[in-house]
Symmetry: C2
């Protein structure tokens, strides 16, 4: 949809907002017209929050999670968290998802993506060598490969597995259980998942 | 979804972005993490476009369309546009929609909303008295009520109709044709629209 705007400012705002993921020009226009109706102070606050986010954010030197310090609060809280277990995730959002479960008490390592030759993302674009370094230097007993169940995730996991197998310190490598999602009906579960959940069956618990 | 963020900057950005219409905290987080991956220059540009939009935008003194001048280009181009016809619309977006048809050559009047007692919007919150003033003072021969087909639109149209009927200068008041939308099947057209399209039938054209 190409539209002629009465105002260069509106045109710029629409073009900018349509850079957000999944936002086309029509939605961007809706956003812009909404912002026009809000208080100037509120809108300035939104713009500044975006600018400050990108300018101010840093990444933890150890686990590469976003952080405002050189070392993020998760890595820094060694007395409270089990430092022998490292959970390897694709991105910052995955850290949040796992933290939200409240069932994990170890450390993290954020890869910053997955290996995807089609997108030009090789192991060197990701935080994989820094993971190998952590495993080699820190007293880590277990690395949990907590990625999704995609082809890219499998490729990445395989690469990391082969790399860590050569590590001077032996380390246990685990991955997330695959199986029927909690709350799902069996008839809507795909065959690969169902086959996997049969193979990996666990003792019945009440 | 309540999440604990590793960073106040991220928290602020997510809260700000979730102020956009139809954007919840989950989508706002997706926007924020996307922005984190972009160039700092690009992200600063987006933030500034939002701030400048709200700070810099003005409304046309005549038709209340958004404008960067005191009088918008549409109102200013009297030699090119027919100044005897005024199309009354709810908002700025409607002006764009009608301009996009390329079939209208008159002027506009942007109400800035519709009468909606349930939302506390009365005629005084809208640009209705300024419309009556235009009709009284300018040589306007026709006012087209180009609002949607909602209860609020009907209320607003009726109010404007009654007000303009008392105008010192007589003016023709028209409204958009109601009928079967172009491309629609008859069986999916509601009964009220179908009834209306029968009553308002027009001579057959090849």
């Amino acid at each position: 949809m190409e539209q002629e705007f009465a105002s260069v400012l509106l045109e710029n705002a629409v073009t900018s907002l349509s850079r957000l993921p999944g936002v086309g020009r029509k939605t961007a226009l809706r956003f812009a017209l909404h912002l026009l109706r809000r208080d100037e102070e509120e809108v300035t606050g939104i713009g500044e929050a975006i600018i400050n986010l990108r300018k101010g954010i840093r990444y933890c030197r150890v686990c590469h999670n976003i952080s405002e310090e050189e070392i993020c609060p998760l890595c820094a809280s060694e007395e409270r968290r089990s430092s022998g277990v490292v959970c390897v995730v694709e991105n910052v959002r995955d850290v949040m998802s796992i933290e939200n479960t409240g069932r994990y008490n170890g450390l993290y390592h954020v890869l910053g993506g997955l290996i995807s030759p089609i997108d030009g993302i090789g192991p060197d674009s990701l935080e994989i060598s820094s993971l190998a370094l952590r495993v080699a230097e820190e007293p880590i007993s277990e690395v949990i490969l907590a990625t999704g169940a995609t082809v890219e995730a499998d490729t990445t996991n395989f690469y990391i597995y082969r790399l860590l197998a050569k590590s001077p310190r032996p380390v246990k490598i685990t991955q997330l259980a695959r199986g029927v999602a909690v709350g799902n009906e069996l008839e809507y579960t795909d065959e690969a998942t169902l086959a996997r959940s049969l193979l990996d069956r666990t003792p019945f618990e009440m």
